[in-house]
Each structure stands twice: as structure tokens, then as C-alpha cells.
Symmetry: C2
Subunit: 384 residues, 2 copies
């Protein structure tokens, strides 16, 4: 009894704190619509069910006009009165309700937080709503795609990853942040980079340089590359998380800045580029808000071994998996017709090795910032 | 030939850019001393060797007066004219020289960067200086401990991890940063948090609340807990990296702020506390600059299941490894004589489950910030 009272008390406080933005109201309406659909079906004596767009590979296609990956129209039905679907039906409604709670309270949480928020023993049974977090995560993706709402709009966030520095001032959660005066660590890119959270105020940047790793980013920041070249410098800690992709997308579309990517010359680097540019298969339903078809690949290139006179000491031999992945990527519909990319991947396979951006330090501590990238910007030898 | 010219040119530029701090000069002197010792031995016709303090468990002890782990006096000899040691001797000198280059240039790099910087084929052989990064990393630790210089003083850094927010203004690399106006992501704690990089300017904080994970940190930041309670809020992304530990140490010692730790009720949480408080076995030589013997453990506690009326749904059963680790930790000399800790660990084993801080969301989205921690601050029921 004591437990229930405490829970009710907190919920009340939470609702008082809530401030609803236009987008929050829209998301709440979508969630409401979901519940209403179920209600209606029940009142008409029909079996309640949900229609969930399919996130399988077969329901994804490359849109040549828009130049990104998008989701097809395939849907799966999830029914309440179906023994094999009843639990996931219940879980879907539960996740929708959890997000509604968060939005109403004006608060956000992690996907682990949502799992803990919703986890309980179903009354009168010994059954848990979710046994583990991995039961909850795919349901969250179902709800995102069903409501066509970004995870961030459902008030859920991932770990912060990625940093930004450069001649741009923005407002994040009401705080004005001058990204040219952020010390050695830079502005930590939030996992929710929607316009409700982050607004661009003013800037004098001419382009965005996105590098793969924080170690490379740090070299560029320490050398104040962004000052000399009037650019915004970002990294995504490897495969950039949603917040970083969303921010790059907004820098490109709202501020009309070209985005150049400095990634490793290996299948993983190619794949990161592919995701930034065309979107990912898994998050195809978010491509329109994430993909940057006009992004450009600035290096490392397979020809850099010769072009930069690199030592064989800094090459890393391709393993079987690298070769397999390289061939897969070469076969992606969005790479298949690009001669320059086919040549690039062929040459890497021919070389038999990969090259990391960090390897350029072998030519001098600041070779990458003082020679390599300036030369690429001059010769404009980008891959599309 | 072209290669060599380029390398020389870059090196020149690098030296011009260098600005040497007092600490840099001291580190350079240590490295110089190392080289000189080798020289002297050679001129006297003796075999050049290095004396490297041993980093094995047997050379570590708990200092009851200082209340942290420190290194003993055990040393290992590394000789040039010894077939099994010649290569690691060469590598040690190489790492020392690489760090000298970095310091002279006034630049920093990652441990991967240093590996690439130093990697080359030894003239006249087919032997590489280092085959893989894992050959280089332990040599870096050898050099640190031999010179009694923090990795950061050698101009090497780890990944940035951890964030800070609160009523404190600091200067990082010349930029003034008001940590109360840093948006949703907070101030990204740099991996080099030495006074040369980060200076505290002013603050109105009464204590530091250190939480384990960024997801928990975010709840506290979103609820502006630090505003209501006049505290500095930090997280270390799990086991806090050196930069975070160093910053906590400085906040505690320079600003005289108590440090309270909110960690999971599991062996991993206990261990994190142990490292913050007494130092780690692996980095025992850095305890005096990292350990905070007066840090306090504020929760989660084994008794919270009862005390907070938590649902059994949010408990996680202990596995065999958890039980083993818990017993190991209970046996640490610095926990062995503490009745409260023995009771704490016993109760967890008796419970048969662990509790994550995130689980408190099950009691309400902001239960942790509005009820749990305020109650702990009131009742002052900390573990030492």
C-alpha cells in the first residue's frame, strides 16, 4: 500500500513539471491515436490489433531520386487474441504508455530507464512484463516506426557520444554555447539534437569536417584546424550515434554547409560513410531526418600509400572478414554504379591492407592537419 | 628521399610551436636523465640497463596511514645486452624519445598515435619496432612508472569520458567555461585534467556528487539537482578513467569539497568506489595523485530493497562471478577491517541479487533525485 501511494505522489509532481512543446503534443496525439484504434476495434467487437511496419531487410529499398535508403510499405499485424502475439501486443501498448508518461512529465530517460520504468509482475500471475532489457529494445523500435516518431521524440536517449568544436554558437536547453571556446573536450553532442533542444544561433563556418574517432578529432582541435580553415569539426566516436547524425543533417540542411568525412581506409570506414550519406538499413525509417546524400568522402584513400609515401610499417593486413565486408559494400545499390568507389574498393583489395587515419602521424605529428587535409581540400579529390 | 624531407620539415614546424611549461621541463629532464644514465654506463664500459619498478600485485601494498594503495620498492632490470630483453630495452628508449618529441612540439597524442609514431622497420633488418599496439602499451606504463610521470605528463591521452555540471567556472586550454551553462551534455571532462590544462576559477559548490553512469547523470542534470543542492555533478562512464579521477582528486583537495559516490549495489559498483577511494592495483604508482581516501559511498545499498520498498521485478540475480568478486572485494585489506562494508557485502550475498541505480525509476521518474539522494544527504548514512 505504501508503495502505491509513493508512486502516485511522484507521478503528480511529474505532471506538474511538464511543459509540452508543439512536437510533444504531436507525439502524444500519435500515441493517443494508437490507443484509440485499439479501443474502437474493441467496441466494434473486432479483435484489437496493431499494424507495425516491417523492419526487415526485404522491406528496405534505395530511393534513387532521394538518394537514400527508405522503408517499404510492408507491415506486420500484432494481435491481442493470438497466443504467440499477446505478450508483445501488451508490451507495445506498455511502451507507448511509458513514453506518454515521459512526455507528460517533460522528462527523458535512457532505454534502460524505460525498461526499469515498465518492468513489473503482471497482476495475478508470476509473469514479468519484460524479463530483460533485450525484450524491450525491439519493442521501442516498433513503436518508433509505427508512430513515425524518432526515439528522441519519444523522450528516450542513447549515451552521449561525439563532440563538436568550431565557429558556431548554439543554444542547448536554454544555455548559449560558443563552440569556439569549449576547452580541450569540445561541445559534447547530445543524443537528442532536435531543434527543441539545440538551436543554431550564428556561425561563420564554411564547411563541416567530420572525422571518425575522438583521437583524430583531438589532433585537429589541438592544432586549431577549425580556426585556420573556418570549419566545424565533429566526431562520432566510430559509427556516429543518432544525435551526431541528426546534428550533421541539420548543419548541412539548415546552415547549407558541405559535410566532408575523414574516415579510415577500411570496410568499417566505408560503412560509416555509407550510413552518414544514405542511412542505415536498421534505421531506414529515419533516413529522411538523418541521411546526407551530398556528403563527401575526403579520405583515407587506398592510393594514399603511394600518394603520401607511407611506410609499410603502418599498414594493417586485411583479414577474411574485411575482404568479405568490402565486397558486400561494393555491392550495395548506392555504391554499385559509382565507378570511383568500385575502383577505390578494388585497390584496397589489391593492396591487401587497410590504412587508419592515425597512421599519418608516422609522417609527423601534425601531418594530417597541416598537409593531408589541406591538400585534399585544395585538389578537391573527394569521393561521392 | 622525398619522404625524409617531408618528415624533417614537419618536425621543424612542430618544434617552433612548442611552449614548455614548468612541468614539461621537469618531464623532459626525467627523460634526459634516463638517456644520460644509459650513456654513462656505456662510457664506463658497463652494460646499459634500465631499472623498472615492478607493477606486479606482489609489489603493491595498502598504506594504512595514507589510506591508499601504493607501490613497493621492487624493481626489474632491463638490459641491452640480453637477448630476451634487448627488444624491450630498445622499445623503452623509443617510447621515452617519442614522448620527448611530443613535449618539445607542445602536442599530445593517443597511445595509438604514439604506437604509429614510433612504428618502423629497424634499419637493415625486417624487424618492426612494434608489431602491434599491445606491444607498445605496457612499455608506456613502464616509462610512466620509471619516470614517476603521469601518462598525461608524457603528453599521452585516453579517450575523453565523463561529464561535469554545476556551479563552478574553470579555464580549460585558455577557454573560460561556466559549468552551470553547458546545455544537456555538460562539460566533457578531458583525459588530461592537470592544472596546466584545467584551472578552477570560482565556485559555490558544497560537495561533489559522483554517479556511475551517464544515464543517471542525465536524470540529475535534467532535474537540475545540482542547482537545488549546490553541488558539482560528475560521472565517469562506468569505471572512471584517469582524467575523471584526477579531476575529482583536485576538486576534493584543492577546493576542499567532500566527494559522495552514487554507484550500483553490485561488485562492480563496490570496485569503482574502491578505485576512487584507495586507487587501483594497476595504477598504484599514481595513487597519490588520484586516490581520495575521504570519499564516501552514498548508495545503492543492499538494504534499499526493504528501505525503499522496491519491487522484486527490478532485482538482478547474482551470478557465480558476482559472488566470487564480492568475496574478493570483502577480502581487500582496506575493506577487511570495516564492519559496515562487511555487513553491506554480506547482505548483498544474502539477498542473492544486485540493484542498479536506474532501477529506482520504477518508483517514479525522478524518485532518485527527489527522494532517494535527498534522504541519504539528510540521514548521512554513508559508507566509509
Amino acid at each position: 500500500m505504501a508503495k502505491k501511494t509513493a508512486r502516485r505522489k511522484v507521478s503528480k509532481t511529474e505532471e506538474k513539471n511538464g511543459k509540452l512543446s508543439a512536437k510533444d503534443r504531436k507525439t502524444l496525439k500519435s500515441i493517443g491515436g494508437l490507443a484509440e484504434g485499439v479501443n474502437k476495434a474493441a467496441f466494434r467487437g473486432r479483435d484489437p490489433h496493431l499494424e507495425i511496419p516491417s523492419r526487415s531487410l526485404s522491406n528496405v529499398r534505395y530511393n534513387k531520386t532521394k538518394r537514400f535508403i527508405e522503408m517499404g510499405r510492408g507491415k506486420n499485424r500484432r494481435e491481442l487474441f493470438n497466443l504467440s502475439q499477446a505478450k508483445s501486443y501488451m508490451q507495445t501498448v506498455l511502451v507507448g504508455n511509458g513514453c506518454r508518461q515521459l512526455i507528460n512529465a517533460g522528462k527523458t530517460t535512457s532505454i534502460r530507464g524505460l525498461y526499469y520504468l515498465l518492468k513489473h509482475t503482471i497482476e495475478g500471475t508470476r509473469e514479468e512484463t519484460f524479463d530483460e532489457q533485450k525484450d524491450c529494445d525491439p519493442i521501442i523500435e516498433d513503436v518508433e516506426v509505427m508512430l513515425s516518431a524518432l526515439r528522441e521524440e519519444l523522450h528516450l536517449y542513447a549515451k552521449n557520444a561525439g563532440a563538436m568544436v568550431g565557429p558556431i554558437t548554439l543554444v542547448d536547453s536554454g544555455d548559449e554555447i560558443d563552440c569556439s571556446r569549449m576547452g580541450s573536450g569540445g561541445y559534447s553532442i547530445p543524443s537528442i539534437a532536435e531543434p527543441e533542444v539545440v538551436q543554431f544561433k550564428r556561425h561563420t563556418a564554411k564547411f563541416v569536417l567530420h572525422v571518425e574517432k575522438d583521437t583524430v578529432w583531438r589532433r585537429f582541435n589541438e592544432d586549431k584546424f577549425w580556426q585556420e580553415h573556418d570549419c566545424i569539426l565533429t566526431h562520432g566516436g566510430g559509427q556516429p550515434p543518432r544525435g551526431v547524425r541528426r546534428l550533421l543533417h541539420r548543419l548541412h540542411h539548415e546552415l547549407k554547409l558541405p559535410v566532408y568525412c575523414l574516415l579510415d581506409n577500411d570496410p568499417w570506414g566505408y560503412y560509416i560513410y555509407s550510413v552518414i550519406k544514405q542511412g542505415s538499413i536498421n534505421l531506414a525509417y529515419e533516413s529522411k531526418r538523418m541521411a546526407i546524400p551530398a556528403a563527401r568522402y575526403m579520405g583515407m584513400r587506398s592510393k594514399d600509400y603511394e600518394r603520401c609515401g607511407l611506410s609499410s610499417s603502418v599498414t594493417i593486413g586485411l583479414n577474411d572478414n574485411d575482404v568479405k565486408r568490402a565486397k558486400q559494400i561494393a555491392g550495395y545499390p548506392w555504391f554499385a554504379n559509382k565507378k570511383a568507389w568500385q575502383k577505390e574498393i578494388d585497390l584496397m583489395l589489391q593492396n591487401g591492407f587497410k590504412l587508419e587515419v592515425e597512421a599519418l602521424i608516422n609522417k609527423g605529428i601534425s601531418y594530417v592537419t597541416q598537409e593531408y587535409v589541406p591538400a585534399r581540400l585544395d585538389d578537391r579529390d573527394f569521393l561521392d
